[in-house]
Amino acid sequence: MNTDYTLAELCICAAAETFRGQGEVLASGMGVVPRLAASLAMHTINPDLMMTDSESWMLSAPNPLGDRGADFQQANETWMGFSRIFDNVWSGRRHALVGPTQIDRFGQSNISALGADHAAPKVMLLGSRGYPGNSICHDNSFFSPAHNTRLFVEGECDFVSSVGYNPRRLPRGHSLDDVALGLIVTDLCVMDFGGPNHQVRLCSLHPGISLEQVRENTGFPVAVSGEPPLTKAPTKQQLALIAELDPHNQRASQIAGNPPGDRRRAA
């Protein structure tokens, strides 16, 4: 078994799985790990994915991260400025992998602000960006480099930027089954919303992480059935592709301390 990989690389490979079987959708990875996950998926399990250059062009092959040298020619496919992105978003042909600041038991998330008073937030974050529209129009998955109870909050998010499986907020005539949340990949584990009534469910534990650690660091109950498997280690081929996609090793600075993917040895 390959044990020579970092936790960031493990998360990239685990998160790439969220794009399996999704067909021709725009894979939008916000941040280094999500973008590498989407790029890896396009190179392996789902070559039909669509991808942008994070600026204004759609690409037929993902750009490597960071400085690509003066001679680099990106593989443009069509213009995809921000106004046109919404034509794609509202059609539903997109799957975003995002990193919010709070996620609650419904899968609702927050990147807007912390604190109960929206008129004077305790901590102002970005604002809701495209989260409201993304979450009601297309699939969404989550990545976080720090699985803790500040992220996975006990109550509802301070500001609900994106919809989840919350019956109280369900718009009239809409169904909770219209909400499409995929994986949650963190530095501890992989989860999804496949528990009873869309409850958050543990899918796999990263090597060296216990179920207790996940429970202690999650502000709401997590459904577990049987003995949770280990998150699959990256293959040599995946690691080589990741290295090509991230030649400046930006992934090394995405999870505090850049720990190894298999923490059984470190323990």
């Binding site: 604002g127 989260y131 409201p132 529209g133 809409h174």
Partner: protein, 291 residues
């Protein structure tokens, strides 16, 4: 019709309490010279509509805003805009926080002279709960409820482009015009600063005319200010000024705060500003960002 004017003539046409839209996106292609002219003026109580960057932060810090309509305020590589955060956390700023796409629909509704545009965007989130101005509507065609995004009518729009002629034909030859066309169309009056003022014959070639996103009748005034987007970018002419944004952002943590930044950069004319940031040649050499 010659629409050229100076930035002070533009600001003279703005009034306290107006709703102003500012084009660009985050740290990209903002009409910052026009923003600096507002900062030098007595204008106040403005309502601002923006895909926000330092335009929002500076106008917040200078106490020019009564209300902000926004989906985000960010400098991209510095994700959190420091003076916008201060204003929000102090509770001094009235806000209408919406989704990026809702902002586009609001501008479209205004541009198309509609009271609202129905959409699913925002349903089920705090966009509905925290914005009493935003209503839900029934559809005559189905049993669902929809969000009715109200028109965001602008008294004025401020934009920056790379090329324009004196009749108000404006070109954005960078890779994205963002929502600038909708800002222009949503506004009663649209003022555009340009890096290069060109003869109308410049647009005769189809590949140049193709990069014009609204008709000249939409443009009220044209201001020739080379480097006028600085410290934001004007792709393909120059990138955004990373060291300058870092200094601006750091000023929020210093005792002198925005006043310190303003003393150094905003007290004189636009020419003084450009001299303080290294001159137009230095601006034009700023590298384009890599994403």
């Amino acid at each position: 019709m010659d629409k050229t004017m100076t930035s002070s003539q533009v600001v003279d046409q703005l009034e306290d309490g107006m709703t102003i839209g500012i084009g660009g996106w985050g740290p990209r292609r903002k009409p910052m010279a026009l923003v600096r002219e507002i900062l030098r003026s007595e204008l106040r109580d403005l309502t601002l509509v923006s895909y926000g960057g330092a335009d929002v932060g500076m106008l917040c810090a200078a106490g020019k805003l009564r209300k902000l309509i926004f989906a985000f305020v960010s400098l991209d590589f510095i994700p959190l805009e420091p003076y916008f955060r201060q204003a929000r956390q102090s509770g001094s700023l009235e806000v209408m926080e919406i989704d990026e796409g809702l902002l586009l629909l609001g501008l479209r509704a205004a541009a198309w002279r509609l009271p609202y545009i129905p959409t699913q965007v925002g349903l089920g989130t705090d966009i509905v709960d925290k914005n009493p101005e935003i209503k839900l509507v029934d559809s005559p065609y189905d049993e669902r409820e929809w969000l009715a995004m109200p028109a965001l009518k602008l008294d004025a729009a401020l934009l920056h482009v790379d090329h324009a002629d004196n009749r108000g034909v404006c070109q954005i030859s960078g890779p994205d015009h963002y929502m600038d066309d909708m800002f222009a169309r949503a506004a009663e009056r649209t003022y555009v600063s340009c890096d290069e003022l060109v003869d109308s014959s410049y647009f005769h070639a189809p590949q140049q005319a193709r990069l014009v996103f609204w008709e000249r009748a939409v443009t009220t005034g044209v201001v020739h200010i080379p480097g006028g987007a600085h410290p934001s970018s004007c792709n393909p002419l120059y990138g955004f000024d990373v060291p300058h944004f870092k200094e601006y952002s750091a000023s929020a943590k210093q005792d002198t705060g925005f006043e310190g930044y303003a003393q150094r950069y905003l007290k004189g004319s636009e020419a003084d500003y450009q001299a303080a940031v290294g001159g137009l040649d230095a601006i034009r050499k700023l590298p384009l960002p890599v994403y």
